[in-house]
């Protein structure tokens, strides 16, 4: 078997298992590129999230899947069936719109019944399924209400029930939580994932909020400028970002530009001008070209604060005076469970460190204006080459 045949066979295998398959999807308006050659397989029963900044093409991708946009190139398969000629009203996917798009002139029950009515489901069965769907989203008592008598959260539940009542193969959610206030958003986040487990169908969610994606989704595709920057589980994306964009977009990060000065099979050294005279040591290979430009990314919670001393703190399994920096605490944000320390290094560079307040007196350990040492383990930094 040659390489091409092998890829084809692999493709076929992925398609056989996946419920949604994007194949080289591109969408262009004139010279504007919305989606750029995206291929993606989504498995049945998955809670999948498309994450990215606004204008990255995530919503376009979702709308292409729903049939509301036509791709310039590429194919979409839903449950193995090519969707090229299938209009949105005959696709086995349903969408919860960002504005919820609840029909204002119909009652809650009529809203939910709409899809079934169009489908021609007879009256008794229709009523039963509508009630079932309303119960599922805990709106069982409000069927007779008009949408303008509902709160934002309730309207969203109507939109959810209206989509779920059709028993779609895949439920599409466009920024489902962005219009809710913070408290409700957190509650709905949990409820959405409960709901997904209960009904057992595939959910695909579009969001620009990384916490939301990390909290709910099994797998996340981070998108940037129309293509997928990285695809993986939430912890993959957070702990093993593949690029500066992903490291920066997911969570917060301290990023230092540097030069790879030593790259051995089991250790590597990076010299970062902003951290000089100290260097960054990692106990694994970077597999990059020596003397090439790299970026060191370290999460705020993976850095430790030390009281000022003449000698740098020693970091276990690290050469002396490596993975350390000296600076002054510029600002402390006390958030209750954690405190965020903003530290200015000698050369003016600002870094962020977060520190859990385990005991009720931990916030008093350091104070603003204090000179401190910062250190991190060899396993903490991620060395990025792009």
């Amino acid at each position: 078997m040659n390489a091409v045949d092998q890829t084809l066979a692999k493709d076929a295998e992925a398609t056989a298992k996946s419920i949604i398959s994007f194949r080289n999807i591109s969408k262009r308006w004139g010279s504007t590129v919305g989606v750029d050659n995206v291929s993606l397989d989504i498995m049945p029963g998955e809670f999948f999230a498309l994450l990215g900044p606004s204008g990255c093409g995530k919503t376009t991708l979702l709308r292409i899947l729903a049939g509301l946009e036509v791709p310039t190139e590429g194919r979409i398969l839903i449950d193995g069936q090519d969707m090229a000629e299938i209009p949105p009203n005959r696709r086995a996917v349903n969408m919860v719109f960002q504005s919820y798009a609840v029909f204002p002139h119909m009652t809650v029950a009529d809203n939910v019944a709409y899809g079934l009515k169009i489908e021609g489901v007879p009256q008794p069965e229709r009523d039963r399924r509508v009630q079932e769907a309303l119960d599922l989203v805990q709106l069982g008592q409000l069927g007779a209400r008009m949408p303008d008598q509902l709160s934002g959260g309730q309207r969203q539940r109507v939109a959810l029930a209206r989509a779920l009542v059709k028993k779609p193969k895949v439920l599409l959610l466009d920024e489902p939580l962005s219009a809710l206030d913070a408290k409700l958003r957190e509650a709905m986040r949990f409820e959405l994932s409960q709901l997904q487990q209960k009904v057992g169908i595939t959910f695909i969610m579009v969001t620009h909020d990384q916490t939301e994606a990390l909290a709910i989704a099994c797998r996340v595709a981070v998108m940037n400028k129309g293509s997928i920057a990285q695809l993986g589980t939430p912890s993959d994306l957070y702990e093993f970002p593949a690029s500066r964009f992903v490291a920066d977009f997911i969570g917060s990060v301290n990023m230092f530009e540097g030069t790879l000065i030593d790259d051995k099979p089991d250790e590597a050294l990076v010299a970062c001008p902003e951290l000089e005279p100290h260097r960054v040591y990692v106990p694994h290979a970077v597999l990059g070209k020596e003397a090439s430009s790299v970026w060191v990314a370290i999460r705020p919670e993976k850095m430790t604060l030390h009281k000022d001393a003449d000698t740098p703190p020693s970091v276990p399994e690290c050469p002396a005076a490596h993975n350390v920096a000296k600076g002054e605490i510029k600002d402390i944000s006390y958030l209750g469970d954690i405190s965020i320390y903003h530290i200015v290094l000698a050369n003016g560079r600002l870094i962020r460190i977060s520190r859990p307040n385990r005991s009720r007196f931990d916030q008093d350990d350091f104070s603003e204006g204090e000179t401190v040492w910062v250190s991190w383990d060899g396993s903490s930094p991620v060395v990025l080459q792009s």
Binding site: M95, F97, Q98, G115, R162, A163
Partner: protein, 276 residues
């Protein structure tokens, strides 16, 4: 002690009240006088000589006037229906689609709003005598065709304007949601867009109906020798003398307009209550 006036409560200053009184006086005093004098028992219509319903009696027995009235209602009815269809479609066209020359089309639609009525009238007269001569021997109501067409041409831009304003506030995701739930284009239009347009259609229809009902200039030029409408008839009555019959006829027209307004308002408030 008088209560102190809040900064924006202008309606509590006496100047504002005098101004309001003046506006309402000059708006409604002539109408009230017209209605009152329709009950005046005098041929001259200058001095009040006592109450009578004689002129209403005469009015309803006046064959020509009744025919004119029926003509006006028929014309207004058909002109409204056609204007609603064309106006709504024009509004949807301009709202939904992007095409070259859109601005020109938009301008062409609103042209009848700004062209002086007399020009419209003359051009319609020429059109229906020279370009497409409208046959005079057609049976009623086809004989009204030329007037109806003329009325549609100045009524539908108003419908398009009102409907267009309403469409601007439409959330397109609603229509997409209907499509997503299985509706085809027609069903999505019927179940989502049309209910949204409804208040605008009612308002636009009412506007078109009243515009058509009391139009004089364009009707005067486009009506054939044998057809006569209510405003044209009132005008011809005036040429002989301003007698209370004219007042009575005008009062009937005002009454009809008010009744129509009330019907529409009741319909609209019912529709709103039906929601709740």
């Amino acid at each position: 002690m008088a209560l102190r006036r809040a900064p924006l409560e202008y309606n509590r200053t006496w100047q504002m009240r005098a101004w309001l009184f003046g506006v309402f006086f000059f708006l409604y005093a002539p109408l009230v006088a017209l209605i009152v004098f329709s009950f005046n028992d005098s041929k001259r219509n200058i001095v009040w000589r006592g109450f009578t319903l004689n002129y209403y009696h005469k009015l309803f027995n006046d064959q020509v006037l009744m025919i004119a009235f029926a003509n006006s209602l028929t014309i207004a009815f058909f002109a409204t229906i056609i204007s609603l269809a064309i106006g709504a479609l024009a509004a949807i066209l301009l709202w939904r689609y992007r095409f070259t020359g859109k601005t020109a089309v938009e301008g062409a639609f609103t042209l009848p709003l700004v062209v002086p009525e007399i020009c419209m009238g003359v051009s319609m007269l020429l059109f229906f005598t020279r370009v497409i001569p409208w046959p005079n021997y057609l049976m009623w109501p086809l004989s009204l065709g030329s007037i109806i067409i003329a009325h549609v041409s100045f009524c539908f831009p108003f419908v398009a304007l009102v409907v267009g304003a309403r469409l601007a506030g439409f959330n397109k995701e609603q229509e997409e949601a209907a499509r997503d739930l299985g509706a085809n284009d027609w069903q999505a239009f019927r179940d989502v867009l049309l209910p949204h347009m409804r208040p605008a259609l009612i308002a636009g229809g009412l506007l078109a109906f009243t515009l058509s009902l009391d139009d004089f200039v364009i009707t005067f030029f486009t009506s054939g020798p044998d057809t006569i409408t209510f405003p044209v008839k009132v005008y011809s009555m005036l040429r002989f003398s301003v007698n209370p019959e004219v007042n009575a006829a005008s009062t009937m027209l005002i009454l009809l307009t008010i009744v129509l307004m009330i019907v529409m308002m009741v319909m609209q408030s019912r529709a709103q209550k039906g929601k709740g």
